[in-house]
Subunit: 184 residues, 2 copies
DNA sequence: ACCTGAACACCGTTCAAGT
DNA sequence: ACCTGAACACCGTTCAAGT
């Protein structure tokens, strides 16, 4: 099975960027791992940024699909649940939350890079949909927490746990955020 | 009121590091803002890292105080509430969540820098105390979410809101995480 | 089409030297 | 004690040149 140089660059870059950080990873490092020169990378990509954009594209597209679907549904508990479930599926897709974890790790980059801003826009849109587009501060924060439950289930649980279980825990905790409480 | 060069370096660095990212901010930039040369910074600090350590120290010390206090208390709802309240006070201290926001923004740096690892350790300890040192995955995630409610109240609420109100919303939402629910 | 070698301006860091 | 100027190796990026 032969993989294109372009594909191999993307894979190695994603791994190193996520593990050691975007800025701390040099193109020399990536090139060396692939047995080519730094300059070779510039044949396949216009810039270091563009490597990130390239492996972010399909994830962004998938998020767009999820958002479009949610917008076509009537607001309410059911939409919130299904939206979060789809988001979690996407987050844990391909057995490792690779691209999503890259953005989580490289918050700084999100601010300046175009792909980062694209991801940020989507996250805010999902959060807003989770809050049923309501402006109440409490509901906005609750929506953000529900989203964060998915991300947090990846690193906030200390013991080894299969992905399916992590997803289950995340969705359970998130669902609780909207369940009515016994008044004090 | 004359401020020491050392202090001015710290202030400018904190601002730029938080706003534009640690890696994207060059020492030349900092030096220029202060009207000195790059090399002058090395008279006051051993390295770029050390600037971060220097302005992190008192925050870390304050977190240690909070952690020590919590460890002296019996576990339970009351401890969790008071612990989070103190954490929120610390987070919003000095009118701008400056140092805490730096660490939030520079996740990548947290992994490699010593000050970052110090902050990470404290956060995990607080999260663990919030979960009453219980190992149940659901409780661990809930504890992380409660902590995140404080951080999230800073950026997840779209409208302008005074700090006191943000804190209130954060603590309310966090408290809800442990309130018993009406069974389905 | 795919890649190299050499050059560019810029980065963090060091150090001898100045006051 | 406090700071400068010049140098170091390394970075992302460009480009003419090779196959």
């Amino acid at each position: 099975m032969v993989e294109s140089t372009r594909g191999r660059i993307q894979a190695v870059a994603l791994e190193l960027f996520t593990e050691n950080g975007y800025e701390k990873t040099s193109l020399r490092e990536i090139a060396e791992r692939l047995g080519v020169t730094k300059a070779a990378l510039y044949y396949h990509f216009k810039s270091k940024d563009e490597i990130v954009s390239s492996f972010s594209e399909d994830r962004l597209a998938r998020l767009d699909e999820i958002i479009e679907w949610a917008e076509s549904q009537p607001p309410g508990l059911e939409r919130r649940q299904e939206l979060l479930a789809r988001y979690a599926d996407e987050f844990f897709a391909s057995n490792h939350p690779s691209v999503m974890r890259f953005f989580e790790q490289n918050q700084t980059v999100v601010k300046t890079m175009s792909a980062g801003m694209g991801m940020r826009d989507r996250m805010l849109r999902v959060a807003s949909l989770m809050a049923d587009d309501v402006d109440d501060p409490t509901e906005q924060l609750r929506a953000a927490l529900a989203l964060f439950a998915v991300h947090g289930s990846w690193f906030a649980i200390r013991q080894e746990l299969p992905i399916e279980e992590r997803k289950r825990v995340a969705l359970d905790v998130a669902e609780d955020l909207w369940r009515p409480r016994i008044s004090p």
